[in-house]
Symmetry: C2
Subunit: 602 residues, 2 copies
């Protein structure tokens, strides 16, 4: 959905990509000086890129290299490179017959060199939508460096093609302005992040504390694990690991990092980011990654209904974690059709096994619902007040176990937002960036298959909350962790934790709480015993973060060579079948599934 | 050999690592402004690092975190972090009994927090070898954050231990100043390289031209190949790929990159780097990676001996590529023992199947050799002149096929240099950095197993030298390539080429010259047909380059977590045995060698 909107400014003439400076947001460390504009023309044989010629260049002889974007009747063509477009005038006189023939006959997307003189466009023919729209280049000499055979489809149509086709011809897809813009912006953001970490704060490029940290070992183990998927070029992510740091230290570091690297054209972001406990996030938004750009928060109405005679409410409240909650959809009557409400209720039923009741606020302010006959006037008015209901609002109500009710209403909140926006309401400002820390996760969760046993909510190396350390030994289910997630507009874009640095505590967690065999991690425990410092870290999911910044519908739009959903490289057709002979040196055999074996035979 | 020498300044007190600024060498692009010193104390709970306190801090209360390097009789201790060492005075009064007990009892290498007051050292007790040697910190409060159990050996002894032990306890090894220094310098050099490429020249982080390059595909194919070895954290290397560039453009880019990122404390390097053809390198140095820091070049003496009656010389010269060559070892008589000369000759015999003759220049200037009786006085004097022989010099002479003779003498030249240096002569200045481009390699070589067939000298995508393009179709053995190697002090630290961008030429090379099935590369050929631009690239071997810059004996000294020679991770004991059940989801079986299978059973 987002891409077409983003493409609009492109059609109006994209600003030259060289100008995409990253923001120099407020930061308490020494501000970096503004870097000089990069020089794109050193080391290559052009004099200029296709994006930089202006009126001031008129009269100069220039040499441009690029792709033929468009050619018309042997009169002119548009040359494109990664910086922009320049109009080339094809000479018509006899002395340049060779140049005319060559440029007129070269197929679209052929690579050419053009040398010529910059001239002003004739009065009235300037193109204000094009950065180079005041000039054109009259070709003197030209050379076709590589002719292009007929394309499977036009470059500008790529975006409409199937994902598989785009991936197969990714090198053509990458010629589009939008992907070039995304990848260049990504590169600049990552470079700014490196400046912040390395130059301003002296981090080393090695993603672990060098100071004898136990984490070093943990990471080494993870890195040696089987790498099942083929690697793309993208870094997994940005991994930060620090000694002598607490949760607040990591959070301030990341806030500074994002402010420093935030691209200017996306406004600015303010820090510190708000923080919310996991319990609050679940209770108010029904998720651990709330989208706080819009309201419709979950409201607990248990107390208002506790004295009612509604059977399913009473049933729900009789259980230990029983609750009644609701979300209020502003103008729901106006924007939601009956079938929308039905599909919302069905979704809650099928995904969460949760029944949903609706309450509608009539134009006269009275409530329409199956429940009203069970509620006195005072109760109704209390409910209207608690939910801040206005005329035409629709309330969705759920009763049951706390987590199930919250999750169902949290999911309905997002589905409703989609429906309202599809109907024309703008709920989630696409230019707003709501960062949020979610903290105080539970350290352990009951295992789904056997709720009397515990498993780590994140991983077994997460440190307990300092206030809950003693609970570790008495009631581990109540221990909060020092895990933190960074959420942006409802998406998890980072996560990390303070790690356990005491071998004794780590061994207790592994053996006594999780009932794991600590022997497989004996090298980690030994490293902790040799003076590992207190340490913690965080990883940022760059692909997701950048895709949110550029408002791309998929992370594949911010990765040069993504793999398909199934980990396949559709361009190089990898992974491919490998012969048993090729596998022999690795002492590996492929165990074909019988069906595949048969298919391969035929 | 090199490490102990490098350690000497460390013993005198290493300069604080924060000061390791990288050089801002001359460069024609806009010079980057000097970055502010990084702030190591933001986000963590210390006030200062252990390397930064000076007389100016006297009277301040500070909080330091670090490892106990040394503790003496409950009176004082030395605290160490990644920035340096600070002496801590343990309080002896009753009010601080708890602090005294805690700091006196904490084992060496325990992690502690110390808060105290900076005081001047008593007059005469200052330590000028220590950057913090003017002050000490009188502890007020302290906390043991992690106690260290008895180490397998002392940190300072690590360097003497076996490689396997160092790798097993790499997290302890990494606490040494030398490794910290190497890795921090590496990080700074790489950061400067990124600044040069991204900020000054607008490169993207994606290691391939985005402009629809065929190389994109090539790289994609390579990247999808089976990754047999487990990955460490080091980047493979720096990969650069550019459109519309020629060999000179790539060379100037790399020279600028190295000048820009060169660390100040290693002097400066001048560009352009000298260039040498492969043929010259072979003829003069017997290798494609000449160490030009010293002489002893190979001299062709075929013409002087052509008229002699020496049978083996005549035999050699009668063959097509027959030659007689020699190297002259200055003061060889003084520095080489008889057994040295014998071992040199044996080495040439065993490695190259090459006989070596020796000629010695006596104190009276006459020659001593089995050859002299076959040579007239004029020939002897011509030989002395051609080889620039002085009294006490030793000449090693070889006759045979050109490449074999050159390779043997090139190898002897390096072995001799080792022997001369072991005997006390300094031939190769360890502070000198001799960069050299080696160019004009042959594009194809005869296959070793079948010399009538050709294989690529580097890879089949390397473009032919522009002057030799027509030879591709008439006499491919004579075609020089556009491959270039970057050599530093006799080590290959980079290599690359201009690639073929014409599908037609690429298909000819694959099918007609190399007799390969071009079908497996059909996606590459197709990409070339869709308007791939002329392009080329280079890869720098960062591990080797950095190890030469810091004068480390092994690349493992500049990698945080290197694998052992056999690709094993000795710390995490990976790779490890995996059960058949764990492999099932991957459809893989391990084919145990019978012997291993038996061993595993027992």
């Amino acid at each position: 959905m987002a891409l077409p909107r983003l493409l609009r400014p492109l059609l109006r003439g994209l600003p030259p990509l060289a100008r995409l400076g990253c923001g120099r947001a407020l930061h308490r460390a020494a501000p970096a000086p503004a870097p000089a504009a990069p020089d794109f023309n050193s080391f290559v044989t052009r004099t200029n890129t296709c994006g930089e010629l202006r009126s001031a260049h008129v009269g100069q002889e220039v040499t441009l290299y690029g792709w033929i974007q468009y050619q018309r009747q042997g009169l002119f063509l548009v040359l494109r490179d990664f910086q922009g477009l320049t109009q080339i005038i094809i000479p018509q006189d006899e002395a340049h017959a060779h140049v005319k023939k060559l440029l007129s006959n070269a197929p679209v997307e052929s690579v050419v060199r053009v040398t010529g003189i910059v001239i002003p466009r004739p009065p009235g023919q300037e193109n204000p939508k094009m950065p180079t729209g005041d000039i054109e280049v009259k070709a003197e000499t030209a050379e076709v460096l590589n002719s292009c055979k007929k394309l499977p489809f036009e470059i500008k149509d790529f975006i409409k093609k199937s994902e598989a086709l785009r991936m197969q011809y990714r090198y053509l897809d990458l010629r589009s302005f939008q992907l070039q813009y995304n990848l260049r912006l990504r590169s600049q953001i990552v470079m700014r992040m490196r400046e912040y970490l390395c130059n301003l704060h002296g981090s080393k490029r090695i993603p672990c504390a060098l100071e004898g940290s136990g984490q070093v070992l943990l990471s080494a183990t993870e890195s040696s694990a089987v790498q099942a998927a083929p690697h793309g070029w993208r870094p997994g992510q940005i991994d930060i690991e620090m000694s002598f740091v607490d949760q607040a230290g990591i959070q301030r570091l990341i806030e500074g990092l994002l402010q420093y690297s935030w691209p200017e054209q996306r406004g600015s972001i303010t820090a510190p980011f708000p923080s919310m406990t996991y319990e609050e996030a679940l209770a108010n938004y029904g998720t651990d990654k709330p989208d706080t750009r819009f309201g419709m928060k979950i409201v607990d109405i248990s107390d208002f209904l506790r004295r009612s005679d509604i059977q399913f409410v009473q049933d729900a409240l009789s259980y230990p974690h029983g609750t009644v909650k609701a979300i209020c959809i502003p103008h729901g009557v106006r924007y939601l059709k009956n079938k929308d409400l039905e599909s919302l209720k069905e979704s809650a039923k099928s995904q969460f096994n949760q029944e949903i009741m609706e309450i509608i606020c009539r134009p006269d302010g009275s409530l329409k619902s199956l429940l009203t006959k069970f509620l006195g006037e005072k109760q109704q008015s209390e409910l209207i007040q608690a939910l801040n209901m206005q005329v035409d609002d629709v309330v969705l109500l759920a009763a049951g176990e706390h987590k199930q009710v919250c999750s169902a209403l949290g999911s309905l909140r997002l589905e409703t937002a989609d429906l309202l926006e599809a109907a024309g309401l703008v709920l989630r400002d696409p230019t707003a960036f709501h960062f949020l820390w979610v903290v105080d996760f539970p350290l352990f969760l009951p295992k789904e298959e056997n709720p009397t046993e515990l498993e780590s909510a994140h991983h077994p190396f997460t440190a307990p909350h300092p206030s809950d350390t003693s609970l570790l030994y008495s009631d581990p289910t109540k221990v909060r962790s020092q895990h933190y997630d960074l959420v942006l507009n409802g998406n998890e874009v980072g996560g990390g934790s303070i790690r356990i640095h005491s071998a004794e505590q780590q061994r207790f967690v592994l053996e006594k709480v999780l009932k794991e065999d600590s022997e497989v991690l004996s090298h980690l425990l030994e490293a902790l015993e040799f003076g590992a410092p207190p340490h913690g870290g965080i990883a940022l999911g760059l692909d997701r973060l950048i895709s949110l910044i550029v408002d791309a519908p998929s992370i594949r739009d911010v990765i040069a060579f993504p793999k398909s959903f199934r980990g396949r490289d559709l361009m190089g057709n990898a992974p491919d079948y490998v012969t048993p002979e090729e596998l022999e040196p690795y002492h590996i055999q492929v165990s074909w599934l019988l069906a595949e074996k048969e298919a391969k035979k035929n």
